[in-house]
Symmetry: C3
Subunit: 265 residues, 3 copies
């Protein structure tokens, strides 16, 4: 049962277990992602050296792989980490940032998506591009596609890859190929702060560490971030104050508020 | 005509066009630069892999090259991106961070400055060093030179390279080698937050995407940042609250305020 | 005499001298470290290219080496910078982030610790791991060790390496192998913001630039950060507002407040 009570139980589990979340992520959001994970109650680490990345996978409870500022050495590290996570049964989540923009991103994102992630999170354009990059289809991609338009592609992708796919936008849609759950939370200011999608992916990583059902983990991560975003926006006068308030909201989110505000369907 | 009305028109153009601004910039400021561009109304991307950097130049409306934390791979990416921008007529702006401090910076900044940037922005010491690094002169550089002292060097540099040079300080001076425009906005707290110069350069990049005259684009970028800085300082009690307020001020800046406060001459 | 008056004198010296502090640090904290150093009154620079790192050591008044997101190229730069700092008598401080977690970190941290740092700062687990990594002992390390448990190891390590070792936690302990000074300042919110330990190390770097006794420099850096943390917490509602307030508190810290609140013993 994926519902508001489940979201609260999972958030409580993150806060008490403080799972170590291993991030191989982009330079732009390393600081904001670490702070969001800390505010949530998880324990973040950013580790990418090929000399140690596999050893670190074994120490962590979940892995986050984000290709935002990829380069060759980092891709090597991602491959090593993902192989190790599969081998040792660690959950991991993929953020295919900017897939569709360049051939290099299509190659890397496609390869990683085919490496058994527990979940994938992207916006509508990215999920449509990823669906193409992992299939034989060659249809063009409109980057202005709303999240709704990507639901079918997400469901097909989730079925084909045996994973959970989350399409985030004004409304988020999360599917394991059979079930489709929507989350109608968040605020427009979240699009005016860099890396909010990356933060969403990292929070999904934290929930994967404590919640065995990856569909539920993805839904809960997005619901908690969306509700925190609404609370933050109520205290913000622009994108600067919004980001600061978001960390406070994640840290202070209480049961009654989450139960009342999370809009899952 | 470069004036306050023009600054407002250009800002409105950024906000409505939401130009994609491609940044190859330093690790320290990636997050704050992205947030400033988002607050302004532009769409930032940070992409540096040699495998994709040229393809990405073609997607973007302007390119920002900042050598703050350069290393060999990044310099290769900068060269590729700049060559591609020249080839496809994309405007690009150079931030020669720390030129004058080391021979490596002098070499890299000198080479990039000679690669037809649309504009260059630096503090007085950097512009004086860059003037040397691109000429045969070998006179020493005093890093405490005020902006005024660099005006002559900036004008000569702009003429010689056929570009626009912005010297920022308590008062900013912007020249295309013929005209010299000054912008007398900003606040001392801007020197207590890291990367404010880098942010200025990135905003110039956003204005280059919508304003065909690079002198006007540079002036407008600095005027908007300077006015936003004044508004932020009025709500700040130190450098922490200042930075947060700056993003809000960039996002919320209104016509009447900009027309009233921008001090161009 | 290491006391509150000495802390104030050293802070005043940083503010008036504005020492250039050269950081080779991790991607996660580059921005927050630079902002903390600026708020303190120092002048930060992040430089790591092998082509220029030695030249930059000569320009700076202190060097900070932090292995948080190490990789092979960065380790090469750290080696070059440290060798140059030793050669030219520049003080430098080591932050062995995550030592104990992987063999690679143990190797790198161990080698750097044996390269005559002026000071080393870590949490209890890191200092215990570093004591092992630099000796023949092979006893396991409990990452939940409180700071107190690491005091003996810190003292032995400081004696053996001829350096100052700071173990930070709820109470900080700083030793040169003979003397042990404690600093009982700070706030629990400091553990909910990423890179607060890295900030502590960087502030120690700034104090090393103006204070010839490295034990005093380490104590003063931690005392100033701890007191600023207390002031920030009083104005914060969570980790987001805390971090913003911390920069303001560092910039605005006054003599009377520091003398009254610093709890050195």
């Amino acid at each position: 049962m994926i519902d508001n009570e489940g979201a609260w139980r999972a958030l409580s589990a993150v806060r008490s277990a403080r799972p170590l979340v291993h991030n191989i992520t982009n330079y732009v959001v390393m600081n904001s992602t670490a702070n969001a994970l800390l505010a949530l109650g998880a324990s973040p680490a950013m580790v990418h050296a090929v000399e140690e990345v596999e050893e670190f996978v074994d120490l962590a409870q979940a892995l986050v792989v984000n290709i935002g500022t990829l380069s060759a050495d980092w891709v090597t590290a991602m491959r090593l980490a993902v192989a190790r996570a599969r081998q040792s049964g660690r959950p991991w989540v993929l953020d295919p940032v900017g897939v569709g923009a360049t051939r290099y991103r299509n190659l890397v994102a496609g390869e990683l998506a085919l490496s058994s992630p527990s979940a994938i999170r992207g916006n509508a354009s990215e999920i449509l591009s990823l669906a193409q990059a992992t299939s034989q289809a060659t249809r063009g991609v409109d980057s202005s596609e709303p999240a709704e338009a990507a639901i079918l592609a997400a469901r097909e992708l989730a079925q084909r890859l045996g994973t959970v796919v989350a399409v985030t936008g004004a409304v988020d849609y999360i599917t394991d190929g059979e079930r489709v759950v929507s989350c109608n939370n968040g605020h427009a200011l979240m699009t005016r702060v860099t890396g909010m999608g990356c933060t969403a992916t990292a929070l999904i990583g934290a929930f994967l560490a404590v919640e065995p059902d990856p569909l539920a983990a993805a839904v809960y991560g997005l619901a908690v971030l969306g509700v925190a975003g609404e609370l933050a926006a109520a205290n913000a006068k622009g994108p600067g104050t919004f980001q600061v308030q978001l960390y406070d909201a994640l840290a202070n989110l209480e049961r009654a508020t989450l139960l009342e505000r999370a809009r899952l369907a």
